[in-house]
Amino acid sequence: MRPGVMPPGRSGLNNAMNSRSSTILIAPALAWLTALMVVPCVLILALAFFRRGIYGGIDYTFTLENLALVFDPLYGSILLNSARIAGIVVVIACTVGYAAAYAIATLPRAWQPILLFFAVLPFWSNYLIRTYAWMVLLNREGLITQLARWMGYKGEMPQLLYTEGAVILGLVYSYLPFVILACYAPLSRLNPEIAEASQDLGASGWTTFRRITLPLTLPGIAVGAVFVFVLSIGNFVTPALLGGGQFQMIGNVVYGQFLTANDWPFGAALSMVLIAVMMVLLLLQTMAVERGTRADG
């Protein structure tokens, strides 16, 4: 028994106010989450099995049409395309984010918290505003064009805004702080002597990174990657604002089914796909983390 910190289950606190008080403490939040998250999500699952009324609304007859439609080539291709864009975002964000986190972790300990704070800060400021900032920078008459003109560039500027590149850039920009945070956590916990031991045993800096540092910090990258993928594939704001409405991510289709086409059952079926993707990725990530922790003993 560690001195002082009684492991829950053996502590006197638990005897005095144990499982019963734990239940009392947990109950309100659990009830809230059940009523306002679990039940609505189950409702969505159920909706997916009903017909849409001719003018929207729900016709309560059972059907598998909506689920079948999800795998229709049209929506299948939208799903794949969303996954492709989200995948590109993940790769870029994780590469840049890991590099930045790695660089921060090499600096003196005293600087790290402040740098990390400033790296994360944008993540907590308004998403729409951060996206809008890129509209200001990228549009044809925007700051980047102005800058190019000012520097003497005379030709026609390539279209920057309303392109797939702009959507990817916007998503990377939005989620990069989170990736830096997720990658920094395992990097900062890494015992520097492990890397030194590797070099002492004859490995080069690069080999040490590849064989020691990277595998040990993989769980952080996995967390970052899953978050970024899930948030990107379900996003509808960035494609709408930076894509000029020309790039349909699965999030936009769900949005459209609910707010434009008034086809709630199909929208529900599509969001089931999003939930499924999220769950599979979380499972994979949990497995990656467990493998990681087993690997480092």
Binding site: A29, L43, V120, N126, I129, Y173, F178
Partner: protein, 263 residues
């Protein structure tokens, strides 16, 4: 290992990353003080757009709505999330299902939660308005508060609660005088994060809001401003909103050294 070249490379990486993160925001902040208001030309320093902002009834109305939503959602989420964190930490057996349920609101795509709540409210014929946004925000806010408080509880010395009990305090007194005050920095930090999230949250608010101005929040107003023609006031608004977030986050960080979720 720590050659100057390597060190310079690391500083370069950090410099480039921070430039990428901060240039867009800085541009907005800069433009908010541009007399002309347009990115095309700098016509002089001015607070004109801030003045415009405070004369814009729609923005003020949305700002007030946001304040109501964020305050109520934060208050509720702080209570529920703190109790949840303590309850979970003193629990003997913690199933994966419970952990997943607590974790879910942080990872579930906003759009899914948004449409789920929209369907839920409209099927139950709950009239939508600020109150529906508030109860929806509590869902993810309480998860964040819970995460921050649980992080603090990991290093919490439960023997002080036993000591309190040993010295004659009832369970309630122990919570009131020992547990809550010791956890206070984490609880306040969690509340500040929840407040920030609530102030900035757009998608769920957008779907669970009622009709019209009565339940338009600031992010909804910003979205409308971006979609329906940009006015220079938006830069001033952006600067203020960023200011609020930065202040809340800095306070949270100060109170809860290194204890933000994920850290």
């Amino acid at each position: 290992m720590d050659s100057p070249a390597r060190r310079n490379l690391m500083l370069l990486i950090i410099g480039v990353t921070f430039a990428f993160l901060y240039i867009p925001i800085s541009v907005l902040i800069g433009l908010s003080f541009n007399e002309g208001g347009m990115p095309t030309a700098w016509t002089g320093f001015s607070f004109k757009w801030y003045g415009e902002l405070f004369r814009n009834a729609d923005i003020l109305n949305a700002g007030l709505n946001t304040l109501i939503v964020a305050t109520c959602a934060t208050a509720l989420a702080t209570i529920l999330g703190t109790l949840l964190a303590i309850g979970v930490e003193i629990r003997r057996r913690r199933g994966r299902a419970l952990e997943a349920l607590i974790f879910a609101p942080m990872i579930i795509p906003d759009i899914v939660l948004a449409i789920a709540l929209l369907s839920f409210f409209s099927l139950l014929k709950v009239p939508m308005g600020l109150h529906t946004i508030i109860v929806a925000h509590v869902v993810f806010n309480l998860a964040f508060v819970c995460a921050v408080v649980r992080a603090r509880l990991k290093s919490f010395d439960w023997s002080i609660v036993e000591a309190s009990s040993d010295l004659g305090a009832s369970a309630f007194t122990s919570y009131r005088r020992i547990v809550i005050p010791v956890l206070a920095p984490a609880i306040i930090a969690g509340a500040l994060l929840a407040f920030t999230l609530s102030v900035d949250e757009f998608i769920i608010a957008f779907f669970t809001a009622g009709a019209g101005r009565a339940s338009t929040t600031l992010p909804m107003q910003i979205y409308a401003m971006i979609r329906f023609g940009v006015t220079p006031e938006i830069n001033a608004l952006a600067t203020l909103v960023i200011g609020v977030s930065v202040t809340a986050l800095a306070l949270a960080q100060r109170l809860n050294k290194g204890g933000l979720p994920g850290q």
